[in-house]
């Protein structure tokens, strides 16, 4: 909640800072679009503000760093209390006499295992205690184990650090809070701060060092590049097979009544079935090896490519077909010179979608069962609660997916420059 508030305020503050600060100081280019006065509602006049993009990315890393106690972040959210502290409790014996004792508390980072602080028992019927606790966790202290007056005999705590307290209440002290349970035991909670523990979200430098480690030493018997390479290889092979079958199928559906009638029910039925739903069946049929995954990706790409090719054929302006025929083109020539080039923009759009779906599907399939691959990497890491590897894997999967899309867009621009221009 606090993070969301901070994020929103950076969003708004950044807007005003850039709008009325930076942009005033800079010479802006006066191209045509910048002269449009109607921008609200004119989508073509809306261009991404690069300042916003930069601030957005920086903000994410800054928040990530600040709330994980990263060494790289200049500011930090309040850290959990770590170190030694103590509280004093006042015990009242059944006869009404009181005695003070201290509880020395050693708060350590999660995962460490320090020794208890050394104390002497002290005097009186209430004896001093020593406890250890992980940062931010609650520790129930059965204070009267070593005391001469026991709770079952009617002894009870009447004050903590001098502040009066009864069962069910709590008081706070400098490095946390203390409460009494219904049965009269002490519960100490050292202040947790606002940072995430590494097991939930490791700081960025841990993810980076993990990346360096895995990229040099590998993980689970395969190098990082083998994991990613196998995922990519499956996607590319599955997509190519899907396109190889799907595009001719789509063309046939766009060109022949019989093909259209025959395959329409199949394609229309298979299209809304998410490829993930096929994973169990594919595992039953083909096992968890490469064949099963490639079949799955083939099926994921097939319908998308078939529908894209069909749309490409039906998108041909009929006058182009008529023109080609009356210029003497044969059916084959019409196919080669008119229908195929005319459908390329649609096919590229389909290919971009299919590559995206395949990349998502391969990761999901590897989560279910695989010996190597990006998805398998994060799945195994999550079983061992290696959150840094999980985050690294997610970032790499995102970067690769984005990279695939950019490559497809570049290919589209160079191969079909006429897209949207007819």
């Amino acid at each position: 909640m606090i993070i969301l508030l901070i994020y929103t305020s950076i969003f708004i503050a950044g807007f005003f800072l850039v709008r009325f600060g930076v942009k005033r100081l800079m010479q802006t280019r006066a191209d045509f679009t910048s002269l449009k006065t109607v921008t609200f509602g004119d989508e073509s006049a809306v261009r991404p503000d690069r300042w916003a993009s930069v601030i957005s990315v920086v903000t994410i890393f800054l928040l990530w760093g600040a709330f994980t106690g990263s060494k790289w972040a200049p500011i930090h959210a309040p850290a959990p209390f770590i170190g030694d502290t103590e509280i004093t409790y006042t015990l009242q014996a059944p006869d009404g006499s009181t005695d003070d004792a201290t509880i020395a508390l050693r708060v350590h980072k999660f995962g460490e295992d320090p020794a208890s602080p050394e104390i002497d028992a002290g005097t009186g019927f209430a004896k001093n205690d020593a406890e250890i606790v992980s940062a931010g966790r609650t520790k129930t202290v059965l204070f009267d184990k070593n005391d001469d007056a026991k709770r079952r005999d009617g002894a009870k705590i009447i004050a903590i650090n001098g502040q009066p307290i009864t069962q069910g209440q709590s008081v706070s002290f400098a490095s946390g809070s203390v409460s009494l349970t219904d049965k009269g035991a002490i519960q100490i909670t050292p202040s947790g701060g606002m940072q995430m523990e590494p097991i939930w979200l490791p700081p960025p430098e841990k993810v980076v060092s993990r990346f360096v480690e895995i990229s040099t030493e590998g993980y689970q018997g395969f190098t990082l590049w083998e994991h990613l390479g196998y995922s990519l290889f499956r996607v590319v092979l599955g997509f190519l097979l899907g396109a190889l079958v799907g595009i001719p199928l789509g063309y046939a559906m766009g060109l022949s009544n019989w093909f259209r009638g025959w395959f329409d029910p199949i394609v229309e039925f298979m299209r809304p079935v998410p490829p993930l739903a096929l994973i169990p069946l594919v595992i039953i049929w083909a096992g968890i090896g490469e064949v099963g995954k490639i079949i799955l990706l083939f099926l994921a790409a097939l319908w998308i490519m078939a529908i894209a090719a069909r749309a490409g054929v039906s998108g041909v302006n009929i006058t182009k077909v008529h023109a080609a025929y009356s210029l003497g083109a044969s059916r084959f020539q019409l196919m080669r010179h008119v229908i195929v080039p005319n459908s390329l923009p649609e096919i590229f759009t389909g290919a971009r979608v299919a590559m995206g779906v395949c990349w998502g599907t391969v990761v999901a399939a590897e989560l279910v069962a695989a010996e190597k691959g990006a998805g398998m990497m994060i799945m195994v890491a999550s079983r061992f609660q290696l959150t840094d590897i999980v985050i690294m894997g997610i970032i790499l999967i995102g970067i690769i997916g984005y990279g695939i899309d950019i490559l497809m867009r570049i290919a589209e621009k160079t191969l079909v420059p006429w897209k949207g221009r007819s």
Binding site: T319, H322, A323, A324, S326, L327, H337, W418, R421, S422
Partner: protein, 269 residues
């Protein structure tokens, strides 16, 4: 000689609701080689249907057509077509578009290069031959379409409102170009248009179709096309006879339109 004869063509098709449409009825025509005939009529009179039948894209339900003494059964390179717009191939350069016909016949570049370059000269696009067609203006694109049709050396050129999408100035220039090409190449041309002025200016013969069912209403033989070749078309338009014919045909088409509206009003009443 290449005479196009159209013999009693009718076109009738069923609608999904069980009724039927008589799009054309008993159209008979004889067009001699080298004639330029413009076809005019109110919207819905079947002009485009007639052209599509002659082009071979539609089959008539009755009647037959012959060109050079053989029957027309489908599209063929002997009948070239110029469309209103959208018929150019965006994935090809201007030159590739113009040379499409010869290339489909399997000619090598050496065989078509001179003719294509010459046609590009005539339509004034020599400097644009390596451009993509989507970089050209609408008028330039129609000049490419004309050149592409001519490069294929058809016997008959069918034009379906080829200048309909152009602005008035470009249109006037293009009308001059059509006349010039007609005179230089001696092609038979059938030109469909919505514009009475264009039909009068370009048509050596002018066919007025009447709607429901589409049929020949009247035919004119006009001197203006010959007058316009090589001359300022605006001078032709100032000719008293031109103004007179324009008024006559305009009121004829207006009458037909009103009749349609009247029938529609009765039918709905």
């Amino acid at each position: 000689m290449s005479t196009l004869s159209i013999d009693k063509i009718s076109m009738r098709f069923d609608l999904p609701n069980g009724s039927h449409v008589q799009a054309l009825k008993d159209i008979s025509l004889e067009i001699k080689s080298g004639e330029l005939m413009s076809v005019l009529g109110p919207s819905g009179c079947g002009k485009t249907t007639l052209l599509n039948i002659v082009a071979g894209f539609l089959a008539p339900t009755e009647g037959s057509m012959t060109l050079n003494n053989h029957h027309i059964t489908g599209p063929d390179a002997e009948r070239g077509m110029v469309f209103q717009q959208g018929a150019l191939f965006e994935w090809m350069s201007v030159r590739e578009n113009v040379s499409f016909g010869p290339r489909m016949k399997g000619q090598r570049e050496a065989e078509w290069r001179d003719n294509v370059d010459h046609l590009l000269d005539i339509v004034g696009l020599r400097d644009f031959k390596d451009k993509s067609v989507f970089e050209l203006s609408g008028g330039m694109q129609q000049r490419v379409a004309l050149a592409r049709c001519l490069a294929n050396d058809p016997d008959v050129i069918l034009m379906d409102e080829p200048l309909g999408a152009l602005d008035a100035l470009t249109r006037e220039k293009m009308q001059g170009l059509v006349l010039k090409l007609w005179k230089e190449t001696g092609k038979t041309i059938i030109l469909i248009t919505h514009s009475v002025e264009e039909a009068l200016l370009l048509g050596e013969r002018l066919l007025v179709l009447a709607p429901r069912p589409g049929r020949i209403h009247r035919e004119y033989r006009l001197p203006f096309a010959d007058m316009g070749v090589g001359h300022d078309l605006r001078e032709v338009k100032k000719h008293p006879e031109f103004a007179e014919k324009r008024e006559e045909i305009l009121s004829m088409i207006w009458d037909m339109e009103e009749e349609i509206m009247g029938n529609a009003a009765e039918a709905s009443a």
